[in-house]
């Protein structure tokens, strides 16, 4: 969805940077968002606070809240997908092999 929405909206997201959690993702506020999303999915409360402060400083509180909500949504959706054994049709997987390689997720148990 990132690759598709980025291409369709004439932005240039660097999926490899997102996958590595490093700077240079190529979207406005992208580096602060990657840092915040990474911290949201992690266990380091101090880093979560620091990344939240940095994101608010760069954008505003409402923007951070929207990002926090999206992260929360995918804490929900990932458990839904894995808890119900959701799988993608083979054709969909084939069409996304490049993205799968970039994210390094082809080996995951959750690949069904």
């Amino acid at each position: 969805m990132l690759s598709w929405s980025s291409a369709e909206s004439d932005t240039d997201a660097d999926l490899a940077a997102v996958a590595a959690g490093r700077d240079g993702v190529g979207l406005d506020n992208g580096d602060a968002l990657v840092r915040f999303a990474s911290a949201a999915a992690g266990d380091d409360d101090a880093e979560l606070i620091a990344s939240r402060v940095a994101l608010v400083a760069e954008t505003d509180e409402a923007f951070m809240i929207d990002a926090a909500a999206v992260a929360a949504n995918f804490e929900m959706m990932t458990r839904l997908a894995d808890g119900t054994g959701a799988s993608m049709p083979a054709a969909a997987i084939e069409s996304q092999e490049g993205i799968i390689d970039t994210y390094g997720v082809s080996h995951l148990t959750s690949r069904r």
Partner: protein, 224 residues
């Protein structure tokens, strides 16, 4: 901190939803499981995927209205969803029943979403409401069927392209709650086909939204 009204309302409704009888579990049972999920998510020394919370003394209520195995299932999904296998699911659904299992997953995902939002924004997770008394409703779709794209049964006819959309369709209360939350947290379902959708001017663009989504999914080791 000012949370937009639709999002605050979705989370308030989600918490109330947890406390009400579902199709298969009472409100009291759902809240017991919800507490185990919160425990799992905040566990500083998580029990490994091959362990079980019911085997650890003092971790579950002394008097529980929920089978210990249901707590084990909830803990595993909450903490180690990326490790689940079909064999594990078959055992869990045989023990709990396929549709009660789906409802249990719904409880886990609701708690995971709301508690994540509060943690992300630096606010204490609110207390659960008091349980609403009453027996499980037994509410089911007219017909359920096996799904090619999911382990769990779904409302008939099964979708051949989108496993996530139909995952809770056999348990109507969880289905409705999921999409109410997703609409407020992510985007309304009807907008998902629009790569330029934005909730408000100055808010997250669609690529920014998907950046957050993909990073969280990657770190959760969720292939989907």
């Amino acid at each position: 901190m000012h949370v937009r009204a639709d999002l605050a309302e979705a989370h308030r409704e989600a918490w109330e939803h947890l406390a009400k009888p579902g199709s298969w579990w009472t409100g009291e049972q759902r809240l017991e499981v919800a507490k185990t999920v919160l425990d799992a998510l905040s566990d500083s020394e998580p029990i490994p995927p091959w362990g079980s919370i019911s085997a650890v003394e003092g971790r579950l209520p002394a008097s529980s209205s929920v089978p210990a195995f249901a707590h084990d299932v909830a803990y595993r999904i909450a903490r180690h969803a990326g490790t689940l296998t079909e064999d594990w699911y078959v055992k869990a659904s045989e023990e709990l029943g396929p549709l009660p299992y789906v409802e249990l997953v719904g409880v886990v995902t609701t708690v995971a979403a709301v508690s994540s939002f509060y943690r992300n924004t630096g606010v204490e997770v609110p207390e659960f409401p008091a349980p609403v008394s009453g027996e499980p409703t037994g509410d089911v779709p007219e017909e359920t069927t096996d799904a090619e794209l999911n382990w769990v049964p779904v409302a008939a006819p099964a979708d051949q392209t989108s496993a996530v959309v139909q995952a809770y369709s056999a348990v109507p209360g969880e289905f409705a709650n999921l999409w109410r939350m997703s609409s407020a947290q992510y985007m309304p379902a009807e907008e998902m086909v629009d790569p330029t959708w934005q909730r408000r001017e100055g808010g997250l663009t669609r690529p920014q939204t998907e950046l957050v989504a993909s990073r969280v999914a990657q770190l959760r080791e969720c292939f989907f």
